[in-house]
Symmetry: C2
Subunit: 375 residues, 2 copies
Amino acid sequence: MAARSQEKTNKRNTEDISLKIKALGEKLISQIEAMDNPHLDIPIRGSANVHFDESQQKIILGDKMAKRSLFNVAHARRFMQTMLVASYVQKDLLANELTATLRDLYYAKKHTIEGTKEDTIDEQKESDLAIVDFEVALETFRERLNLRAEPKGRMAGNMTVEDRVRDKVDLIDLSKMGSGGWSVPSIVEQINFKKVDVDYVLVAEKNAIFDRLNEDKFWQKNNSLIMTTAGQAARGARRFLQRLSTELKLPIYILTDADPYGWYIYSTMKYGSMALAHESERLGCREAKFLGMSISDIEHYDLKAVTIKAKEVDIKRAQEMKSYEWFKYKEWQTEINKFLDLKIKAEIQSLSSKNLQYISNTYLPEKIKNQDFLP
Amino acid sequence: MAARSQEKTNKRNTEDISLKIKALGEKLISQIEAMDNPHLDIPIRGSANVHFDESQQKIILGDKMAKRSLFNVAHARRFMQTMLVASYVQKDLLANELTATLRDLYYAKKHTIEGTKEDTIDEQKESDLAIVDFEVALETFRERLNLRAEPKGRMAGNMTVEDRVRDKVDLIDLSKMGSGGWSVPSIVEQINFKKVDVDYVLVAEKNAIFDRLNEDKFWQKNNSLIMTTAGQAARGARRFLQRLSTELKLPIYILTDADPYGWYIYSTMKYGSMALAHESERLGCREAKFLGMSISDIEHYDLKAVTIKAKEVDIKRAQEMKSYEWFKYKEWQTEINKFLDLKIKAEIQSLSSKNLQYISNTYLPEKIKNQDFLP
């Protein structure tokens, strides 16, 4: 991996965003000068404009656009708030090479008209919506606007990455992270992959599994990178996995509990989600594979005694998911039917009933050797 | 800090626990051989036996003990489960130098009588209670039994630690963790402090504050270690802070939102909690100080416009806390009264309304310079 060219790419990206923001501003000014109603063209994000794209294998936004105008009673407030977002991103963040959270932005722009008690932003959800408007209008995503989300997840493995905090550059050897692991940052655009000696990436939904694999030196013995998302994957973890998949062509294997919530965690990492359809392009990881735990594993690995009875809500969820286009694969239909038939679920940790290291010494090596995955 | 002597201490601890378990087992055997009813003496954990110890400045268990006997219909099942815990800890974990979660233990000992459908442990809460019985009976805490909890928290700063995963020893330079930070492990007993060039430890309740301080290179400029607990502090973070305070004599400053929930997060780190009174001795950090945000800060830093109206539940909580012995300090009574009077709360991030780096460049340096803390 050529680090220098990556650095250039990162630098160029920041510049591009600033140029895009300036271009947007100039367009608005010329609308004003032409005595036109200033407006933004923004893709509609409602379910009517969200669909699963077969060729891209992603849940994405369609072509339907909406105009957001200043001189429209229903739009004026949001238009103003979107301008506050634009100003904050350009002048406070990008110009100073600083990052902030959505909450920082909210506090900074909440009360901008001095001498009045009127707030320009009442609730954070207003500025959050204005931020999404702004990112889709610019055809980018919030990390490129230097907006951070809550970070979550840890990793360890045979890889060295270079991370940058403003002008401070750190070389981080992920094979020397002890029992803690390196925390996955919220923004991963600036990370460069340096030494990479990894055959695949194994992503566990749970911290407990990460700790088990790390203690068993799974990533050393199996030449891999391990990551936990600690539940539903955060944006930083999703983007990092996408980069590992597209830039380094590393296979991504995902390990969740055998239940509809586990499938949902998997499908969000792979295809994106309805709610964040405008982000799937940057956050989805279409080459990811579902390693397990599968319902068939319960029988194959003799785990019947340590399964859990499915709840009503699990069954309803599974029935819904069966109809999703991205679960239409024959293998997934069989999996979901098996679940609906047996009405049981199983946690990855139920493998501990065999012995603590069974997952590292038997289950995972077998599944990976046999490429026993769901698509 | 002499690393070698610390290593010896760690090694000795493991051996001590094994010896303690063996001694417990031998005591039970001699009870059986004497035709006595086999029993364990276990400190009572109910509120009647929990109190605040002035001299230790900790919420601790009193002297009241209960007998748990095998030949007692009300005790037999729990006695059996406590023996399952003892066996798992000794034979599966300590003997193999492995760690496990409470859930692993539950799965391993759930179904131990072959050829029957009867479970030895039905629900995890049963084995969790048996684990607490076992740790208090041994006068130790679960991390010494190689039982892991959910890890949470990140850190960075001018310190190098040595962490060990079985025979693999890693030297971790916390000043080179990029934007991610090092994840605080669940068990921190094995960690040795190596290079320490730190004047104090700053603990932020929120990830967002950690990211802000890290980006502003606060720990470099102010020669410190920064940590986030990402909400209520996990056991690993609490124990690590205690070790930093008692072994390295580092001042610990805690930064939470200005509201009763923030005070509660602080008091748990400092004094322990009612629910885990049996653990305060190992998890409490009595020298910790509350840096802020305080209700007085709202006025002093002119943050009135970005405060939040207190909810009914906040006010009820504050009234309760006012009567807690560990909030009897004059300064805390004034603080709580001020809150009850103004009925507003403020988040640390509200400082972003001034400017993004105000917290790093002005607020924290001022508070620390003036030692403007609550006890």
